[in-house]
Symmetry: C2
Subunit: 569 residues, 2 copies
């Protein structure tokens, strides 16, 4: 492509309402244009990058045996009523009426439409398994669309749906998709992690998210650098402590702690580490009774784990000040298990503690030298907390590290939820009617671009992975209009590379080098060749990779071969 | 592709609500699946054909210098309010509200969105011209969606919009697109005609439609087989008669024609050809006066031509029975110019007539032997009628023929309509602000598939042009499970052709030949190779083109080369 025949419209400043790096850079580089809140137009170079992602996704989905279809954006309400989601889906579901006053939705997802197709077209086990996927524009009416293409309202997704005659076959396809997603994100060139979304194993109860690792990500991920273990922090198991608690050395002593309300206050007041304190949190049981939960002072309660415990009200509900006062005779800040008659649940890490500090159930008083068993009955043990860096990995293969991620993919064993509700059945080998097992597999195609930029950028702009860059290489001729030698050398390289299949742009806009370089660094083209008269006199051009600190001289002879070598690397 | 890994679900009968051939065949072949009225899901083979059309469209648009973008389906009402179409667009525009009660539309077209982009990004004549296009899913809330993908509500279009610094440059691009569209439809392999939508020349007032020729088309087209002249019948000019009328031979004679109301009645009653009669139609002038229009009895009034005449009320309004009785003293069926005092306009064909029959302005009476000038004053002449087959072509290059067509493309000089309304201006070479000139260029991508099938089908099913067939060739092995020789030969051919880049499907479903042949003839794969034990014993396979009456034996040696030759032909 020649820049003069193309459309390049970079901006000096991002619009004021752009919040995150990728959004600012995409707008400044002219890759997208805002049409409405959360609704973007894809400009030529943004679309080129999007298409490259789509192509990789399609190639790998086809390779994995999935078959592409294209379902409509506008879907009849009847299907959503059958599945029950017409009622249960929130206001993100954009509902509308056609001119005949019939109800429709703009599909945020297509389980209903594909299940409707499957129940009409698949009648026999001989037609199973089948995996249909599409790359399609979806709409989700986010209450506060933001972060550009990362949480837009209209977006491009790959969504696949598989149908199976047995659960075992669904699990087989789930593994197939797990491997396929790893191939896809690897080919795109991103650092990512497959994250267990409910359990840590890619087994029978499966749901995995695929996260692009980026400091700006919205999700906290715990992973093991020595294995492929990774999970949302909220779901990662905090293993039992590896040691039992020591023998009590101190006596239980009530100390006056005036004005101390938090663990930080307490540690500072007593000049001890927070790890020597125990935090007390009171929640409601299903029957409304107060339940005391104990955690090591520096740990955080994991509400999801807590609310899953037998007898605990879900969603987790903190006890009211009145209930706490009635049960403990003190206010939050001075609570503890000593003398409490109700149910006490203790995080497994507390079991390793002795001679700790805990609230005395009297305002402005704590106990020091508290010990389990001696000072209060040994309570129930449970995993109540978020994991922290350094915790042992649940797979036993090292210790956990934490990072942040951007979810770009999700695979999920739907089982028979939709097939049951909508009557997607088949005749098995014995002629008996069975409900189909289903899996679903999503990739946020447009979101990947935002995530890739969040992971790969610097002060000058975007740094695209080559596989999804709008152009792989830019040729910047210095003095385009003045020097025939420059034009000749630039045109020759352009022709050679185009014929070799390189996606190259020749910047023939006759701009100054500063303008050219700033544009292409902002746009993030990963490789650049500069051709100018000064270098040509010595038979050289300049090469600079987008991450390189400086340019290196390269002989003009064999320039195309040099570039091809760089691109292959 | 191997059929066992693919999805083939043909139907014996089309659903009862399918109306036209292409719709029935696409549903029976399993290319599409109805999800709601006018809303279809594209199943694997339908999507493959659709993608082939898209690819040809993209390649030719890119070659012509247009740049691909992707605009959103959901568009803010504000832009439509700016252009004025929020008010003027009918109920086909699907309007909706988001969760914040803001107004949006699902775009049936994108003039507003692209003009909004252009006015923000284009400031100088140096950035012009620019032509942006997209291949995108559109929605038009047809009151009665029908004909499958030919008049669906959700459909895929290629829509392009060009911006220019001058009208001359718009005309240049209009010619460029005219040529591009001809390349596109030629490559797709359809019989088509570029049809002047308002005038017969591809000049300054330009609008052309591109029609696929099919007997089942909705539009009547007049074309000249000896030139590239073509126009909608309503717009084709009926040239003045090439001869003047003869000398009057008969006397004006009033005859009793009891019960005769129509030209057909009249011709039958008097035993004369309709071409010897003159039809009288009374319409309203702008001031409400009755105007008499005269046409040769066998010709049809063209209302568009009639309403364009000076002083005639537009839209054309027929005079009321009361006004006719007052002006003529008779009822319709017996009207004529003799004695009428008002304005009379005569189609140019009538000027060549003498001794004709015309109403006598007295119920149940006509005049025979009527002659212009002698019996009533020579009236104004105008082109008032639809052309008929055999009329001289307006370009002077032969005579007109008539056919029916399906509109699949439209190019249009928008001029400054949107740019003016929405303030899309640029600075010209002299630093003066000017309004951009705009063109727009549409192709009904999904509609093309329906049109292609309307043009190419037989009793057995679809006959795809090879360029857009879901598969170019099918290999049908007879006795797949029983004969290793058959499997070997079929697999070898499949491998050879796949490696040669042929889009081939191997039917390894182990179906009976009758089932295989019926499926692939219905689906419309243009080339078929049958491999069976009987033929293999003699070293031969069978080839049959989809339009061939019978198969021909082909040596198994060199089978791949034979197929490649057939595909190249």
């Amino acid at each position: 492509m020649r820049a003069s025949h193309y459309f390049i419209a970079t901006l000096k400043e991002a619009p004021a309402d752009a919040e995150v790096t990728s959004q600012k850079l995409m707008l400044r580089a002219g890759l997208i244009k805002k049409t409405a809140a959360g609704i973007y137009s894809w400009m030529p170079m943004g679309l080129k990058a999007l298409r490259k992602v789509e192509r990789i996704v399609r190639e790998e989905m086809n390779r994995a045996g999935a078959i592409e279809v294209l379902m409509p954006a506008v879907q009849p309400a009847e299907l959503w009523q059958e599945s029950g989601r017409w009622t249960f889906y929130g206001p993100e579901l954009l509902r509308l009426k056609d001119r005949h006053d019939r109800d429709f939705v703009i599909g945020p997802t297509h389980e209903e439409v594909i299940t409707d197709i499957a129940r009409r077209d698949i009648r026999s086990y001989k037609q199973l398994p089948k995996h249909f996927y599409q790359v399609q524009t979806k709409f989700r009416d986010e209450i506060r669309p933001r972060f550009g293409v990362m949480r837009g309202r209209e977006f491009v997704m790959k969504d696949g749906y598989s149908f199976h005659a047995s659960f075992e076959d669904l699990v087989r396809e789930y593994h197939n998709m797990y491997a396929t997603y790893i191939r896809i994100f690897t080919r795109i060139g991103l650092q990512f992690r497959a994250v267990a979304a409910d359990t840590g194993s890619i087994g029978g109860t499966g749901s995995h998210e695929f996260h692009v690792i980026a400091d700006t990500g919205e999700d906290d991920i715990a992973y093991c650098p020595d294995s492929d273990y990774a999970a949302n922090v909220e779901l990662a198991e905090a293993l039992p402590a590896s040691k039992v608690h020591g023998v009590a050395k101190q006596a239980l002593t009530k100390v006056h702690t005036p004005g101390v309300k938090t663990i930080a206050d307490l540690a500072a007041f007593l000049k001890i580490p927070a790890t020597d304190t125990v935090k007390a949190i009171v929640v409601e049981a299903e029957d409304g009774a107060a339940v005391l939960m104990l955690l090591r002072g520096d740990h955080e309660l994991n509400e999801i784990k807590a609310q899953k415990l037998d007898g605990i009200k879900s969603p987790l509900t903190f006890a009211s000040p009145e209930a706490i006062a009635a049960g403990f005779g003190a206010n939050p800040g001075s609570l503890g298990p000593v003398g409490f008659k109700g149910r006490v649940i203790m995080d497994r890490s507390v079991a390793a503690m002795s001679d700790f500090v805990i609230g005395a159930n009297e305002d402005d008083y704590h106990y020091t030298g508290a010990n389990i068993g001696r000072d209060f009955p040994g309570p129930e043990l449970a995993d109540l907390r978020n994991v922290v860096a350094g915790d042992p990995s649940p797979d036993g293969k090292g210790t956990l590290a934490l990072c942040r991620g951007i979810e770009v993919g999700h695979i999920f064993q739907l089982r028979t939820k939709y097939a049951e509700a909508m009557g997607a059945r088949f005749l098995d080998e014995n002629g008996r009617e069975q409900v189909m097992e289903m899996g679903c597999y999503g990739i946020g195609v447009s979101r990947i671009l935002g995530a890739a930029i969040e992971q790969n950028n610097d002060a000058r702009g975007i740094i695209w992975p080559t596989a999804i860059a709008p152009f792989e290489l830019v040729i910047c001729p210095v003095g385009w209009s003045k020097s025939e030698a420059v034009r000749e050398a630039a045109n020759a390289l352009y022709t050679d590379l185009t014929e070799a299949g390189v996606d190259v742009i020749l910047d023939d806009r006759n701009e100054r080098p500063g303008v050219m370089f700033a544009d292409w660094e902002l746009i993030g083209v990963p490789h650049r060749i500069v051709i100018g008269d000064r270098g040509l006199k010595e038979g050289s051009a300049e090469y600079q990779g987008r991450r390189d600190e400086a340019a290196t001289a390269v002989p003009v002879d064999g320039l195309a071969a040099f570039v091809l070598e760089k691109l292959r690397a």
